[in-house]
Symmetry: C2
Subunit: 309 residues, 2 copies
């Protein structure tokens, strides 16, 4: 009995009963195979130190849950005012001992203050201007994906974040891929202040793009959020206090003693190595893969993160 | 303090501190708003009985987990041999008391026999021919989405399943959207026999399309699977027996006494009402939405399921 599976994050794990190991099975006939190609793991292994950048402690947020640490990289180049307000909220310890308040299957997990009657006060701004899009000319270097997109004229990456842009309007925006962090708001565009945030846990809800401020990405700890029990209230909100997981402590990495900091590096999405990462996913080699996709969806392009070496 | 959120499955839940309720906040200024439009909930409410079809008990599989019932609709028109082998496995009670053996974050949950040394024997076929694609001419009516796709020349729905097709090759195939069921296999194309199945829980892994037999869709119970603790082994396999959840009983609906059957209906994807469902998601109205997407990704088009009336 043999089992094979590929351990890379996006590879299929094809653990199956092998025909050759079963009595009475016909002998396997040779199939036409795709030639082997470097896998994502191969590309990562061959990467150079310059392909990586350390997280900036002033843009890195630790959310320490009872089950472990989740790490968010903020995107101030897309949402400077919102990122600043989140830093202010974190530094006045607003989030400490608040809760995960919502888990909607196939969509988002959200956290903040569940108490609408007597909300926890805070000194940071109550309204922040909408930062749904940003001018292309003020954004960082855009590495375009050649594969096209259903929702936007152009998609690719800016400084390690999935992004879209529209040359006609001159605007660019962060895209709602899994692990992206958005700022919950009410009807008014300026009602999102960062005191309630959500992370995408399901298939990319791209209709939210340009409708909400996207402010960062979870670079470590997604499983801590994605397994949260689904809420039984409307839109996946928890109905009972005991269903809510506590946010024990939320801190900017810069405010955490050196010894307690996580040491993560993110691959530079403007590097040649990142192009190889994308290509390894776009066109996989044999023998497991029979047909290479030839294309890749923006949200299927992994953005590698590793422990600093 | 006011909170608003939309309870429809794919709508954003925008629970946020309302500016108007906070002392010292500037009064909200009127924004330009999109006109209101029928929501998904409105369209479902206005649907007619003929827009729905009952599940066929011979193509409906119940997986009774300790936490509840998951229901799968098989797709024999795309994978007749595989669907037949799964029926045979179910009817010899192969799956009863086997396990969920894998949960890989953002990808799939998989079930079957974890024991590679002494696998549970079965009488059903050990190898089944690959049913990765099917001839367009033998498939059911295709309702095409006009929105385009990154991976395939054409996408849309066939008999309630997300599907793609390529007129050049004359082939059609089921698409790896969330909730779709695939047949784990080893390297050989015919090594998937249905004794190990997986369900997509993360962003659609479309690179698997045409590389594996897709055999159905979870029509109820996705949350039971998507919250499974992530496995710590390679590719999310569980490393310890106690991490595996038991599949208590797996049965074809046709073999379950009438009184114990679930009564579900699926919306006919070739109905005019389904076009209204898609349009409600493609172009949402105000006031929460500020920019209508104008487009929809195949895997963001919901396929409504309800209790029989």
């Amino acid at each position: 009995m043999t089992a094979s599976f590929n351990a890379s994050r996006l590879a299929l794990a094809a653990l199956a009963l092998l025909a050759a190991g079963s009595a009475g099975a016909a002998p396997a006939k040779p199939e036409k195979e795709l030639p082997p190609k470097p896998s994502l793991a191969d590309v990562l292994k061959a990467s150079k130190p310059g392909d990586w950048r350390a997280l900036d402690p002033d843009n890195t947020l630790y959310m320490d849950l009872p089950t472990g640490r989740m790490i968010i990289e903020l995107a101030p180049s897309f949402a400077p005012a919102t990122a600043a307000n989140i830093r202010a909220l974190v530094r006045e310890k607003y989030f400490d001992d608040l809760f995960i308040i919502r888990s909607q299957d196939g969509f988002v997990v959200q956290w903040g203050d569940p108490d609408e009657e007597n909300p926890k006060p805070f000194k940071a701004a109550k309204t922040v201007k909408a930062e749904f899009t940003a001018p292309i000319k003020s954004a960082g270097s855009f590495t375009r994906l050649k594969d096209g997109d259903v929702y936007a004229p152009q998609v690719g990456h800016v400084e390690g974040f999935p992004a879209a842009r529209d040359p006609a309007s001159g605007q660019t925006w962060l895209v709602h891929c899994p692990a992206m962090i958005g700022v919950a708001r009410d009807t008014g565009s300026d009602t999102g202040n960062g005191s309630q945030l959500y992370v995408v846990t399901g298939h990319a809800p791209r209709h939210l793009d340009r409708n909400i401020t996207v402010v960062g990405r979870v670079v470590q700890g997604m499983p801590l959020l994605s397994v949260q029990p689904r809420g039984t209230g409307a839109a996946g909100f928890y109905e009972k206090p005991e269903q809510r997981m506590s946010l024990k402590r939320v801190a900017m990495a810069a405010d955490v003693p050196e010894a307690e900091r996580s040491r993560l590096e993110v691959m530079r999405t403007d590097s040649a190595t990142y192009q190889a990462v994308v290509e390894a996913q776009r066109n996989r080699g044999g023998p497991w893969t029979k047909v290479a996709a030839g294309r890749i969806d923006l949200c299927n392009a992994p953005i590698p993160v590793r422990e600093q070496k």
